[in-house]
Symmetry: C2
Subunit: 367 residues, 2 copies
């Protein structure tokens, strides 16, 4: 459809042309600061009106179904340590063992518990380890917000990565809240790190994790560097909770847009519980404020709707500033960690993302 009439105005006049042309300036000459677009005022917040957010048709049918799920009801905040314990230590759903076995079978992996450096871990071994990965090892730090995903429940990404990349994974079953705030989980991760660097050459090891796990892998590298320990050969950090304070654009732009995650209320309480009195911007618990010099090549993942979009792109920016080879991938339409749920739900975007991780690890790890 061509909206232009070639006839022109029959009176030969240009009604309201002055007003229109003035408005056009801002549009047509956007980014032309030199050409007369003046600042209107000091920076100020803006009111965004209510609107309908459709499910994008630019993703697979399976991912559309995931994106179109209704929001979960707000999580009630436990009021006592006992209530936190009840939440964190809730028994697994019925039939969980059978489901987990089927899940491992689907991704072609075997899982065995193993204590490493005094810390409970799981070794996830693909039935078919790729030849190029024989001398490689992946260390996984799971998601779950320090209040969930204990035991086998924390192995989802480990199973997916082991299966889809054909690499052996060690996943750390680190201590959780409320009884083990910072630095317990990181102490566990470091104790395991000190042992795995004896099991393979550090440059043959990649560390990975999502959400709190994605932040913990960043903290692991920062702490290893401070303590003079070897560094891994590559890092994958998915949608990291890199800033425990509500700081960053997408905490606001994607609030209510992210289908799975909102900060105020439950997760803010978790952040304070984990921080255990520390400032939420302490670089030891919010690694975006830490030192990124000397990082190994790092792959970052987020989504257009991710509440942690800014947590991810801010880390990317810090890595680029430090001259680190860093790759960022943003999933169309995806909320927090949708790439992993996509992989478990057979949405093709999931396997595709992990194939990029596999390619990245393959390009950067030693043999």
């Amino acid at each position: 459809m061509n909206v232009v009439s070639r006839q022109g105005d029959r009176h030969g006049r240009l009604p309201k042309s002055t007003r229109r042309i003035l408005a056009a300036l801002a549009l047509a000459l956007a980014a032309n600061a030199w050409n007369g677009r003046a600042w209107a005022q000091e920076a100020e917040a803006r009111t965004i009106p209510s609107r309908i957010l459709p499910v994008p048709d630019t993703v697979s049918a399976a991912l559309q179904k995931l994106i179109g799920q209704p929001l979960s009801p707000p999580q009630e905040i436990p009021r006592t340590a006992e209530e936190w314990r009840a939440l964190v230590n809730q028994p697994p759903p019925p039939d969980s063992s059978r489901r987990f076995a089927a899940f491992c079978d689907k991704f072609g992996v075997a899982v065995a518990p193993r204590v490493i450096g005094g810390v409970g871990c799981f070794v996830v071994t693909p039935k078919a380890v790729r030849a190029a990965n024989r001398n490689r090892l992946l260390l996984g730090l799971h998601h779950g917000g320090w209040v969930g995903a204990a035991g086998e429940g924390g192995l989802t990404e480990a199973v997916v990565i082991a299966g889809l990349t054909g690499t052996k994974v060690i996943s750390v079953d680190y201590r959780l809240l409320p009884d083990h705030p910072f630095p317990a989980a990181m102490d566990d991760a470091m104790a395991v790190w000190k042992e795995v660097v004896k099991m393979a050459r550090p440059e043959n090891i990649a560390v990975f994790g999502s959400s709190v796990g994605g932040a913990m892998v960043l903290s692991l590298v920062q702490r290893a560097r401070r303590e003079g320990l070897p560094l891994p050969g590559a890092v994958m950090s998915g949608s990291p909770w890199s800033d425990l304070s509500k700081t960053g654009d997408s905490y606001y732009t994607n609030d209510g847009v992210d289908g799975d995650l909102s900060y105020s209320g439950f997760w803010e309480a978790v952040a304070r519980l984990y921080a255990n009195g520390r400032d939420l911007k302490d670089p030891l618990i919010s690694p975006v404020y830490g030192d990124f010099r000397g990082f190994p090549p790092t792959y970052l993942v987020t989504g257009t709707r991710d509440l942690f979009l800014s947590n991810t792109v801010r880390v990317h920016q810090r890595l680029l500033q430090a001259g680190v080879p860093a790759q960022l991938e943003v999933g169309e339409g995806q909320s927090h960690m949708h790439y992993l749920e996509a992989a478990t739900r057979d949405a093709p975007e999931g396997a595709e993302l992990y194939s990029h991780i596999a390619r990245f690890f393959d390009a950067h790890l030693g043999h």
Copy 2:
């Protein structure tokens, strides 16, 4: 602050524990499809309530000021070809020549008009061409939505890139709407491309552009490949209008969030005017639907608030699927093309972004 009381409930009961624990499942076991999180229903749109969007404090003071500008009033849509012509051909603001000279001086470049392949162009030459860039050339396709930024008004990004990278730029002053819909602008770009590949080795040439220019550089590579012409050695595509139809998540998630750009109304009319009767998803005018095989290394730029966030990440996805080395950078808090306005307004994020482009070109172009 530690929100947990270590005392527990004084009655030893866990009130509402069943309800709480059930709600906790979705949170703590997110992405654990294998562990009992069932689909709630078919995918459906969601209502996002009205909210206040603060200016992020995670960017420089200068960028905060840009982000905090109020929205421009809606652009009135011209009703006749004459009205479109009046809008497109409006005279430059008073004092424009002096301002442009000062702008060129600031970035240390000289500008000269030159007809290349029968098409009006500008040659933008840095006073200090970097030694490594002596045999390199950049071809720029400017922004302006095919309805603005003609002549010197289209040289903003060319001047910035020439100055900040120390490389000679040729910028194409391609034909505009309403009198020259598709394929006129692309025909102009291709006519120039056929000549510049005689002025430098194609592998020493990068093409760059933002917004419609960012889409046109993608179309240029696709068309060069179809026509058996040499390809450039690298591409920079900033916030490309890669899909002229309103397709993609951020057309909705960032509507009203992007401080500069909205689709419905004026820009939809521009899209139809440019398409001149073609389907807006025709790969010739919406290059995200085109073929990305064989692309040279490509750098993509967008922002967390960019209306074209999805237009950019969808191109990234297509490039990754085609196995092309592709880098994506997402500016914290930034709307459409804020990186360029940042560069002209002395917000440090601007120069930083273009330093990454310089590094990328340097890594991938021949010498």
